[in-house]
Point group: C2
């Protein structure tokens, strides 16, 4: 049978295949937060023509169903179909995603270290040509000269050995020898070769960012980013772990991320006339699950108590073995992880934040697909993963979406008319609501007295925007002929859970280490989310601690920043290793104290209102 | 066009292909000492039916040509042919070749070392299972336990990392860890796994010998041997080196030797119900060219002055990378080489001879395809390659052949009737003459006064067996209706050249080190050749020094013996390394002194007859 899209494109569909699978197989990706289990309700499509069998309608409401909407993952055609895929159901791969400001990074590097020492270092050698009196082997003569320069214990891969004889004779023995810190020879080249590049990669659960870097001066040549195409198999790490344990799932996920990196890297190299063979090292920063999937390691035990990864400290890998489109001998450094839910992205983030060098107490938070926090200083570091879930990226929220074009990113509600004013990314028609929009919305609903401390809609409010919907009580923010944007009571409950997890995590780490909120001197907020976050509103709902605004600093995508630092410098790699070893992970999921903190934080802003003097003042002034 | 063999088998032949190439492509191998250049005259076949074009008839005589003989490498069919391949032209692959006596080897090992320490060592570990309080990664817990047992700096290949999580949980953490001397982890296994095997390989220019060894007790489980199928491309290392520089030659030669090893190994493993995955290490001993070809390294510079190999000391390789049919992570140790023409076979031989441990002066000689000699003791070792050439293996001798069934291995000539009595290997009809037969023949012809000191036939000898043949004067040893076996004056000249090279080499090494022949206490004769060699006759022609018989010892195939020792023991590998480093190579090809010695040794037995008192006495008594 066949499927025709409204664009006119024709696809086929095989027996036993649902629409989601058939579309995916042919390169049409839909949002599928739950991985195709009929739960999230995001893969909504409209059957324009044709009959089909639908197993479940999931979260679709009567109106949608009446309009011909089905969940692609639950639908099997019974004849040829014509399919309408609404914009919000499409997973847009290839969008340019906001990345850290490349030009600021080299300054950061210079402040932190300054001397460039990449994974491959080069030394010029003059290897004597053989004579009848000195005809020991080529590699022995080379090794002898290297030892005179203080390079001991060099090991040679086969590719280097096999090319050495000709190269030594063509160059008259004047060569450059590239080697890694472990003494493995990377390559031999003629002295004239000067171009040296590296690539820093942030493998996020949601997005992949690649920096192509000139290793001679640290300059960022170009930047590329894309959605992680593992997303077809679910939004969060748990869904991916489950998928990895299915038949060929692990290999598929590994191939997906490697393809993404290569697909970003190769056009960048071509654009700048850089040979793939001149890209001689890579640094990968990702959370522990992403690192395992990149390495092709079964992540199953990450998910099972007691949450144990296979590896935290990864050996150097070779690009050829890793299938990356670099020089095949290029060393691939994986930023070390700390625990199952505190990965190399956080270690890279701490490195880029510099909190590990400061005497004062800092709080580092990365609220992305999960929510990780670190507190500490130059003596100690404590970390925890908050299980905030990907709610602020749109998952689990009826009309939630990522902070891309069409997302409601800010909300104001007129205190008198109770009418909302929406800020939309890209000034387009609103398609859904993103993390900062959710925080704004909850904060405004609360300040207007439309929801109570528990996030429940207050009876008898003087607005018709509060109404009974398909999933219970909801607030209508927007409607036009095509769509309505609402926040349901269930959505608000999910947002409160997420913010409570973050606040309780911070609170617990402070209690465990004997500090109070006021002793925190710096709050570093990392992650793409930070770019849109309104700190005052986040304090208002009790997600961030009630500290003076000047203590907060948005530091962007620190995973890529840390990866860039590690790409350039051995000192930075050593510091990353020291951070990972020093960091103590606290397993919140089994902490009774955390559960207490969490329950207290489920209120707006908090059960213990004294922790939020600013909010108290605002509520009093209302 | 098609070729039919007398056996009835039908082969095809492509345009531009000569008969030798067509036969080879379809698995019918002929002797082709010169590599198919029309020079050696060994690939003789008879055209029974059909017309063909012959470029050159090479060494074929009128009689042979009249009988329909052509050189396969010089012949192109013009229509379908029926082909008769005489037995002596066939390269018999798969014959069982004489190998060192396996049962004696373990005794040798016990005398030399006694403690088994293969390339992979195993240690039992109890790795604690993770808990919520101790959930560091699997590999970190494993590394911590190993470090407590004194194993530091372990490195883990990807395959081990990826299987560790499940294995640790299945075994409750009770595992065995296998690792190599460099700290690279080979494999993890459950404690119950006990079977451990290794393979020692002698990669000779002519033959390949494989020992399958039980690494738990040193027992040789089974032995296999075959001709090196690189032989299709020529008999000696020089022809192979030339072939290696042609388009895909290097890869073909490498594939040939690897296929040979695997083809021997796999049926042995199957016969003894041994899993390939339980074969966990390999040792390869071969001359420098064979080692380069096994490693896939271009051997071109071995052949060009100043005769420089790419590698003498080889790193550990992995069986998976080397394409050997062992556990893919199995370390492959290559016995180190000394110089372009003194390889790992000689280092292995010295190791097995034990001369490097003795105070007295010893002479080691391996007369195989080439002729290498070593003199020295427990303090020093000096070596040289004699360029004797493969004459004693039959190459360059009109009816020369290897010491296999049908070879004339001994010759007596009746002093009165001048009629020869021949000893034939396998008591079969004679097909040709092998090395020991040649030495006997020359010795007898000389003692009977039929040839002079220069190896020239003496005019007026009272026998009709001396006659003028197609290639000059010759002595007829045998004839029947099918063939005649002769030794020509050119053959004798070649034999004298070979024996002179060997004797001059020994003489030069002694002069360079300031010793005399009489100071040699032990003469170790290695190589398959030694098994048939008559020492007295070899002294008679001036090939071996005139020393008392009790000083000579035949020690068989010491390349495989040394490989076996290295397979079993780290001490032996260390000794092999020390031997290779200690051994000083003297490049005879550019030594004027050697040339003088060589010219003096071209006589029977020698220009300086005083060096051969036994021979002098015999000649006087005649």
């Amino acid at each position: 049978m066949r499927i025709r899209l409204l664009s006119g494109r024709e696809l086929d569909i095989m027996a036993e295949e649902n629409l989601l699978q058939a579309l995916k197989r042919q390169g049409v990706y839909l949002v599928a937060s739950c991985g195709g289990k009929g739960i999230c309700g995001k893969c909504r499509v409209r059957i324009a023509e044709g009959a089909c069998r639908t197993v479940s309608t999931g979260k679709l409401d009567h109106q949608q169903i009446a309009a011909g909407a089905v969940l692609a993952c639950q639908t099997f055609p019974e004849e040829n179909l014509v399919l309408d895929i609404p914009k919000e159901s499409r997973l847009v791969v290839g969008d340019v995603i906001e990345t850290a400001r490349a030009k600021d990074l080299f300054e950061l590097f210079q402040n932190l270290d300054g001397s460039i020492s990449p994974l491959v270092q080069w030394i010029p050698l003059q290897v004597p040509l053989p004579t009848l009196e000195g005809n020991i082997s080529d590699i022995e003569r080379l090794t002898n000269v290297a030892e005179k320069q203080g390079l001991h214990g060099l090991t040679f891969p086969h590719s280097v050995i096999s090319s050495s004889a000709d190269l030594l004779r063509e160059t008259g023995g004047k060569i450059s020898l590239g080697y890694t810190g472990t003494g493995e020879v990377f390559s031999l080249s003629s002295l004239s070769r000067k171009e040296r590049f590296g690539v820093a990669v942030d493998v996020g659960t949601t997005t992949i960012v690649v920096y192509l870097v000139d290793l001679s001066d640290g300059r960022i040549v170009d930047v590329g980013s894309t959605y992680n195409s593992q997303m077809r198999h679910g939004d969060d790490v748990i869904t991916r772990i489950v998928y990895a344990t299915e038949s060929n799932g692990l290999q598929e996920l590994r191939d997906a991320v490697v393809d993404d990196i290569n697909t970003l890297l190769m056009p960048l190299a071509e654009k700048h006339s850089i040979s793939i063979d001149d890209i001689e090292s890579a640094v990968i920063a990702g959370n522990t699950t992403m690192a395992h999937l990149f390495w092709g390691l079964n992540p199953a035990y990450i998910r099972e108590e007691p949450y144990t990864p296979t590896l935290n400290i990864f050996p150097l890998w070779r690009a050829g073995t890793a299938n990356l489109a670099l020089h095949s001998q290029a060393p691939v450094y994986t930023v070390p992880c700390v625990a199952s839910y505190v990965g190399g992205d956080i270690v890279a983030g701490v490195l880029a934040s510099r909190m590990h060098r400061q005497g004062e107490l800092s709080l580092f938070m990365d609220i992305g697909t999960n929510g990780e926090i670190v507190i500490g200083n130059n003596e100690w570091l404590v970390t925890a993963a908050c299980s905030a879930g990907p709610c602020f990226e749109g998952s689990g929220i009826k009309q939630g979406m990522r902070a891309t074009e069409g997302a409601v990113e800010s909300v104001k509600i007129d205190r008198r008319t109770l009418e909302p004013v929406l800020g939309i990314i890209g000034k387009a028609k609103p398609l859904g609501i993103c993390g900062s929009g959710m925080i704004d919305a909850v904060s405004e609903l609360f300040l207007c007295g439309l929801i109570d401390q528990k996030g429940r809609f207050v009876n008898g409010s003087k607005t018709e925007r509060i109404r009974e919907g398909f999933e219970g009580t909801e607030f209508l923010f927007y409607q036009d002929s095509q769509r309505q944007i609402v926040l349901t009571e269930i959505d608000i409950e999910n947002i409160l859970r997420a913010k409570a997890a973050i606040y309780a995590g911070i609170s617990l780490l402070l209690k465990e280490t004997g500090f109070s909120f006021n002793e925190i001197e710096h709050v570093y907020i990392a992650g793409g989310f930070g770019n849109y976050l309104n700190v005052e509103r986040a304090i208002m709902i009790g997600m961030l601690p009630d500290l003076p605004g000047e203590k907060f600093r948005f530091i962007g995508n620190t995973a890529i920043a840390g990866a860039y630092l590690c790409l350039l410098s051995e000192n930075m790699r050593n510091e990353a290793g020291a951070i990972a070893r020093k960091m103590t992970n606290i397993e919140l999921s089994v902490s009774r104290l955390f559960m207490d903190e969490y329950l207290s934080a489920l209120f707006l802003p908090h059960t213990d209102i004294s922790q939020f003097p600013t909010v108290t003042a605002l509520l009093d002034n209302k």
